[in-house]
């Protein structure tokens, strides 16, 4: 038996959430519509959520650019490698930190926390990465961002919530620390692992700054740098001299197509991980 107040709340809730969904989806729907529209219709402001002057030529044009695919491949490689390394490091670090009997545990947590609040700054980081010889290699992107402290803390909380008895039983049965982690703890942590994979993968997929900073050759750029140059570079002021004497402007439809192509893969992964995702974020949140 639901009270009237609760029903009113539900209606209100549904309205607000529908509003949020519309506000969130509308810009994206516009971009998708633009990607299928003619450029003339876009600049005239006729495109909302329905494509006008439907055509696929822009898709063909963007997809025939070899630089786009080179950078796309880089993004996939960087994301896969970086996510794998991040997962290994974060899992090991979090597992260690979840053991209350560990000596120096607070110090190890302190080190991680410190980096949340302080960092060396742009130029010292650049000098460091350069002097380590990481520039123009995948490691410049992977290593400095390998451990996200936020993810680390979520994972630590999750491991702490596991009953100690489980691990004790495994130890009695003859497993060492690594065996316990690999054969007992991880199989029981699929939810949090899936969540972390998603967090890392999305952040590496979307990241452009470290690649922009540390990569000096265009065949090493990820697709996000390509995309950013396409959108910001077309209107930016850095190249005024040529902007005024060349009659080229990058069409709004080319930008839209590139955005759609860049977003699609990460978007298609979401539904498959989503069920882990919800439980993964909740885990560690409610705990006695």
């Amino acid at each position: 038996m639901t009270s009237r107040g609760y029903r009113a709340f539900q209606v209100f809730n549904a309205l607000v959430l529908t509003g949020v969904v519309v506000v969130t989806l509308y810009p994206f729907a516009t971009i998708v519509a633009q990607s299928f529209s003619s450029e003339h219709a876009i600049t005239a402001g006729h495109v909302n959520v329905v494509p006008r002057g439907f055509n696929l030529t822009t898709y063909k044009k963007v997809m025939s650019d070899s630089a786009f695919w080179t950078n796309y491949r880089n993004t996939v490689v960087y994301t896969v490698v970086a996510t794998a390394i991040s997962m290994v490091l974060t899992t090991c670090y979090a597992y260690v930190l979840s053991k209350r009997q560990l000596k120096g545990r607070r110090f190890l947590i302190g080190i991680a926390l410190f980096t949340m609040f302080f960092n060396g700054g742009l130029i010292p980081n650049y000098v460091l990465v350069t002097d380590l010889g990481l520039r123009n290699s995948i490691w410049a992107i992977v290593l400095p961002n390998a451990v996200s402290v936020f993810n680390l803390l979520v994972m630590k909380a999750f491991f702490e919530s596991m009953p100690d008895e489980l691990e004790e039983a495994a130890a009695v049965d003859g497993l060492n620390t690594y065996g316990i982690l690999a054969r007992i703890v991880l199989p029981l942590s699929k939810a949090v692992l899936a969540t972390m994979v998603l967090f890392y993968a999305v952040s590496f997929w979307n990241s452009w700054f470290s690649a922009f900073l540390y990569m000096d050759r265009s065949n090493l750029f990820p697709v996000t740098v390509y995309l950013r140059n396409l959108i910001a570079g077309a209107t930016g002021g850095a190249d005024q001299g040529t902007a005024s004497d060349t009659a080229l402007q990058i069409g709004a439809n080319i930008q839209a197509v590139t955005i759609v192509l860049t977003v699609v893969p990460i978007l298609t992964v979401y539904p498959f991980i989503q069920r882990y995702f919800v439980s993964g974020v909740m885990l560690g949140a409610v705990k006695g």
Partner: protein, 548 residues
């Protein structure tokens, strides 16, 4: 014990301070061009104007390369292979997306990691790197650059170059050099409306008022003039303000500068307080109050202005060659019989004159390059590619017989039929920029008027010829501030700029009557306009005394 550690601390901090000072002092040394035989690897013994530079041994120079989104960097451009063939030099590019070029340049230079050649720098961006000693005072080494010197002398560019000088009398940027002041921005007018009303193309700003009045009479329901380019922080309608300002010989709109040179008094005065500036405001105020100029011109987005023009709600709008052809013509295509042209910039009280700098963005050279074995060859190479006639032609149009035919000098220049560029030869299979790497903003800018004109279609050429016929007014003398004063000046400038912009808009829109002009001028003084100007005048005097 306690005291000892405190003393230890003091001496350590003194040491740190000393190190910091030593670091700052690094840039000051090397006053004159001291090139020894140790710097001559690959250099040509005899290199002068008209000579083809070719390194005597193969050399390679690192360069920062802005990758333009319109024509992204490719390693197999004909530009690279042909450059190496002609000069024996291979450039090693650090490719930077154009979207964030300045940021990466800043990081690389500050980290001491910059490539030798750092092009596409707009004055005064280079000033940020001078104190650190990271960039070369190029003015000390001009004797290695015969073509540069030749162009400066031939085109009488000394005054323009002086604008780049710092308080030490040197400049740190090798700018692109134009033979003449190049004007592109003006107004676009619907010529079919002019014809319909029996009006001629306006020659002066007063003519424009007459034309707008006639348009208003025929179409009382709309504003005949609705303008664009109102991006903050300027007051809005920035091109219009700049153009009217130029006709009155005063900085305004997006050309606004705080210090205006008063030649008769021989000193700088504060721009926003001058009578000329008042006349500019008065003119625009008249247009607004007679409802000839859309008051939204100062606030609306470019797209809004374009849409009004496209729908026939307005007949006049700011333009450059590119906007005219790429947008306005296409926008009004749906109005039957509608035609639009870019008119020569209307003239004002100073007559058929123009002013502006003839310098383009330019190149910084890393300071460490001067100790390199191939330093002389480097300077000769830069001189050839960016300043010799052959180098300029090569960077812009490519290779004769392959990408173009004929010559710019005798007017027979023509792109090769299969090469397309900016709407020329639209059916061509190869793009001059995308596929060949020529006409690249990193390498091709500046040059003679003939070279510049070779890129224009006949219509734009007519406009250019009118503008070329106007005499260029002299630039103000240099008044470079030293770095301490610059900081103070920047603080003053920021609040002054806000205030001038705000009040300019209020006066133009009639929200503040022009009778309050004197009150406004004293308000400027409250914002330190006089202190600022005396700082500039002091810098002018100092520079004249030390380097004049």
């Amino acid at each position: 014990m306690n005291q000892l550690s405190r003393r230890g601390f003091l001496s350590t901090s003194a040491g740190v301070a000393g190190l910091a000072l030593a670091g700052c002092g690094g840039g000051g040394s090397g006053a004159s061009s001291k090139v020894t035989s140790a710097n001559r690897t690959g250099a040509m013994a005899k290199y002068g104007v008209g000579d083809q530079f070719k390194a005597t041994v193969p050399l390679s120079f690192p360069i920062m390369l802005l990758s333009n989104a319109n024509y992204p960097y490719k390693a197999d451009w004909l530009f690279w292979s042909e450059l190496t063939k002609r000069t024996n030099v291979t450039l090693q590019p650090t490719v930077i997306p154009g979207s964030d070029y300045n940021q990466k340049r800043s990081v690389m230079v500050s980290a001491g990691n910059a490539p030798t050649l750092i092009p596409k720098t707009y004055h005064p961006d280079e000033e940020a790197y001078i104190a650190g000693g990271a960039i070369l005072p190029v003015s000390d080494y001009l004797d290695l650059m015969p073509n540069f010197q030749d162009k400066v002398a031939k085109w009488n560019l000394q005054g323009d170059l002086d604008q780049l000088r710092e308080s030490d009398g040197k400049f740190y940027l090798l700018p692109g050099l134009h033979q003449d002041v190049w004007k592109d921005y003006s107004l676009a007018i619907r010529t079919d409306i002019l014809q319909q009303l029996g009006l001629a193309v306006p020659q002066t700003w007063d003519d424009l008022t007459t034309v707008l009045r006639a348009m208003k009479k025929a179409y009382p329901d709309r504003y005949p003039f609705s303008d664009r380019w109102s991006t903050p922080p300027q007051p809005g309608a920035n091109n219009l303000l700049a153009l009217v300002g130029e006709a009155h010989n005063v900085w305004a709109g997006w050309s606004y500068q705080h210090a205006q040179w008063d030649a008769s008094a021989g000193k700088f005065v504060y721009t926003g307080a001058t009578d000329s500036y008042k006349q500019v405001i008065q003119y625009l105020n008249t247009l607004v109050s007679e409802k000839l100029l859309d008051p939204e011109s100062f606030t609306q987005s470019d797209d809004q202005a374009r849409q009004k023009f496209a729908n026939g709600q307005s007949f006049v709008i700011s333009a450059n060659a590119q906007e005219l052809v790429n947008h306005y013509r296409k926008d009004i295509a749906k109005i039957s019989g509608a035609t639009v042209v870019k008119i020569p910039v209307p003239t004002g009280p100073i007559g058929a004159a123009k002013f502006g700098s003839r310098l383009e963005n330019g190149m910084m050279i890393a300071n460490k390059a001067k100790d390199g074995k191939d330093f002389v060859a480097l300077m000769q190479f830069v001189d050839w590619l960016w300043y010799s006639d052959d180098g300029l032609m090569f960077a812009k149009w490519g290779v004769q017989g392959t990408t173009y035919n004929g010559s710019v000098e005798d007017g027979t220049f023509k792109l090769a039929p299969d090469v397309t560029w900016a709407g020329v030869n639209p059916s061509g299979s190869k793009n001059l920029q995308v596929d060949y790497g020529f006409f690249n903003g990193v390498f091709a800018y500046g040059g003679s008027t003939k070279l510049l004109n070779s890129q224009f279609p006949p219509e734009e050429l007519t406009f250019q010829n009118v503008m070329d016929g106007r005499k260029a007014l002299p630039l103000p003398p240099p008044a470079p501030l030293n770095s301490d004063d610059r900081e103070q000046a920047t603080l003053w400038q920021t609040s002054l700029k806000d205030y001038v912009d705000q009040q300019t808009l209020k006066f133009i829109l009639g929200q503040r009557p022009l009778s309050q002009w004197d009150a406004y001028v004293s308000e400027l003084k409250a914002h330190n306009s006089e202190q600022y100007i005396s700082l500039v005048n002091q810098a002018y005097q100092d520079f004249k005394k030390n380097h004049g």
